[in-house]
Symmetry: C2
Subunit: 127 residues, 2 copies
């Protein structure tokens, strides 16, 4: 039912799963080694791994005895690409804040013409 | 219960909520205007807005009649900062892939000493 990006975001919406990814970013490891630092049961870790695997964020070896987990960081590129559009926005906000701070400290010598105040807008039109 | 980053990721794990953010990235708007392009009820849109507002991804005006929604892109910076660590990883992977492709096309003249093949590792040690 979920689209891939929603599945990725949902998988990341848990601190234990993000901690597992952080551990795996250091190198591949077995499930039991992975579970050690966490205060949760092995089945609980396995459930988290299934969510991460389903989202393509980790992959697991196919050996019966030792199924090492490794991170698949490429899956996070879709998140990065989605963010790109918004990165521009928060950078613009910072620029505007800087501009505003400059108007407070610089003398209004040449005076820019564009007054950006649009607070009153069309509020209450429905009445 | 949720930490802030988990709340943000959970809020983003829905295509309608991401579409709302995309619309708001063009400028602030009322809830009814916002609901128009979506094939869902106004109460459903309101529920999505609550989730986004709770995650700090949008803010809403306080006027009773017209409560404009606007995006708060700074909230996405935490996601960007979290990604930073992993960006390094997927770039390394791409570099390694490039190195590998080079070994396929370049003649092994001066022969680099570092053989990166560690496929056999310690698999099956438990037997």
């Amino acid at each position: 039912m979920s689209d891939p990006l929603s599945t990725t975001f949902a998988a990341l919406a848990d601190p234990t799963r993000r901690a597992i990814l952080a551990r795996l970013s250091l190198g591949e490891t077995s499930v039991s080694e992975l579970a050690e630092p966490f205060d949760i049961s092995l089945p609980a870790v396995s459930r988290h791994l299934k969510v991460l695997e389903h989202a393509g964020l980790i992959a697991r070896g196919r050996e019966a005895q030792w199924r090492p987990c490794r991170i698949e960081p490429q899956a996070l590129k879709s998140v990065d690409e989605w963010l790109e559009e918004y990165r521009r926005l928060w950078e613009q906000r910072l620029d505007r804040l800087e501009d505003y701070l400059r108007t407070l400290t610089d003398p209004p010598s040449a005076g820019p013409k564009s007054g950006g105040k649009k607070q009153e807008k069309k509020r209450g039109r429905k009445k």
